[in-house]
Point group: C2
Chain length 302, copies 2
Amino acid sequence: METHEEFYNTHPPPLNYENDITKVENFVRCHKNEKIVLITSGGTTVPIEQNTVRFVDNFSAGTRGSASAEYFLDAGYAVIFIYRSKSLEPFVRHFVNDSLLDKLEIKNNKSIQVKEDKVEKLLPLLKKYKDAKASNKFISIPFTTLIDYMWLLRGSCMLLDSKYCLIYLAAAVSDFYIPPSEMAEHKLQSKDGPPVMTLHLVPKVMKAVTHNWSRQAYIVSFKLETDSMLLETKSKDALHKYKHQLVIGNLLHSRKYNVKLISPNDIEDILVTDTNKKNGIEIEKIIVNKIKTKHDEFINNI
Amino acid sequence: METHEEFYNTHPPPLNYENDITKVENFVRCHKNEKIVLITSGGTTVPIEQNTVRFVDNFSAGTRGSASAEYFLDAGYAVIFIYRSKSLEPFVRHFVNDSLLDKLEIKNNKSIQVKEDKVEKLLPLLKKYKDAKASNKFISIPFTTLIDYMWLLRGSCMLLDSKYCLIYLAAAVSDFYIPPSEMAEHKLQSKDGPPVMTLHLVPKVMKAVTHNWSRQAYIVSFKLETDSMLLETKSKDALHKYKHQLVIGNLLHSRKYNVKLISPNDIEDILVTDTNKKNGIEIEKIIVNKIKTKHDEFINNI
């Protein structure tokens, strides 16, 4: 397998990269010695053709990452939200669920309002969004392809090498990719028969995150599996291999109400009860509160 | 290659299918002897694993389909909009472009309004949306996978077998798929090395649309290519093979301002000028107006 150095040497940064990383740099400078969380969210795409028509995608609506961002803001963090373009964004997600336009009404033929019965829920959320923006507590940067993601991850992590920083890797990143040098230049033609796609393994960057880029940060990775037998073993293996602080393990079918927080010496099961759900309590609220406590202990070296 | 009959025999309909098709059926009954357009929009996904984590996706934001739906409503059509879940929807697209929440403001700490400087553009659009819903001129049905799409297409086309019906196939449909019987049950593990994906050709259903399901309708298909040399030849080939009325040919890099309307005896080049653009005229407005004329001639057998 290629090393991550080789990957970065052979894949130039995306066009927006300098701009995006400057934005992160300024944000981090603004919040020196405050708690900052970097959240990655949504899936990556791997183009199959150079003039991209088709790509291999990872399934992820971005629910985990976008919900967590809201609760990290509640918990006092400055939030850097690196997300797949068009996946869910914090606060925005409450407005776009169901039918956005059916939430709006026309008043006196000259203004557009959110319907009264929706205001109670949406007003506090909009206020939080405006406050976070006004106090410069929140920035968001979109990516699309695996290569975009890889560059943003490295650039941001290198700026977050302090114990006050939390790195929360919720994005669903492809394990495989097709190097641009091996892509078809034009759209594959069906008359040529089904294409044979030779996928390459994406170099593992977790070791670079924990050992090179963000050695002092508190690092949380995610494991999503469909086979419950594999989940704990693979999470423990990851902790052993990368020496980071926490793996959040979840199964595809139960991920909305059950996760495991797996640290080197402990496994904690988190379950959202039906009562929680009725009261509108999302599992991400519980996850973030637990992690905040762990991060505080880490900062104070308890 | 599999026939379309074999495809439908081996792939059962999606869970929502009966519900969705009943909705279309009622809509069509409501608009008997009026002009109806079926628009398909957005890309299809092809799951790689049975517990879907990864899939092959076709690139399509759904701009062409969603914009066209608005102009077909303007042109007096009843619109059935079958679209990829999360892709652009008519009217909604104007609200979600850029930052939705930055278009909203809090008034007197008790209501949420669209900012005054955005109202001029958005109010007429919201009004059109509300009118179309209130007069039952518009329904939308989402799909995700190729199999969902295939079922919705067949079911809807079979209900639209009349000269008053227009079928406007703007969705970007995968040419390839992996039969569920050949999918991995669980998430492919990277330790097993890069997966070999054997893709199957999706049976061509255009011939079934034109010769079996909607023999009397006016049918418009799309060709998206990256190689301009191939575009006209492939469009002409399609018309010859399927005997339908119109192919809209476009190239990936120029599709926002240039398309070709290719009919058996004629090729018409449509170009949005810079002046058009400055006046906010979208290419879909021009396309839809041209097609409306052609469809009227078709109905009146001119």
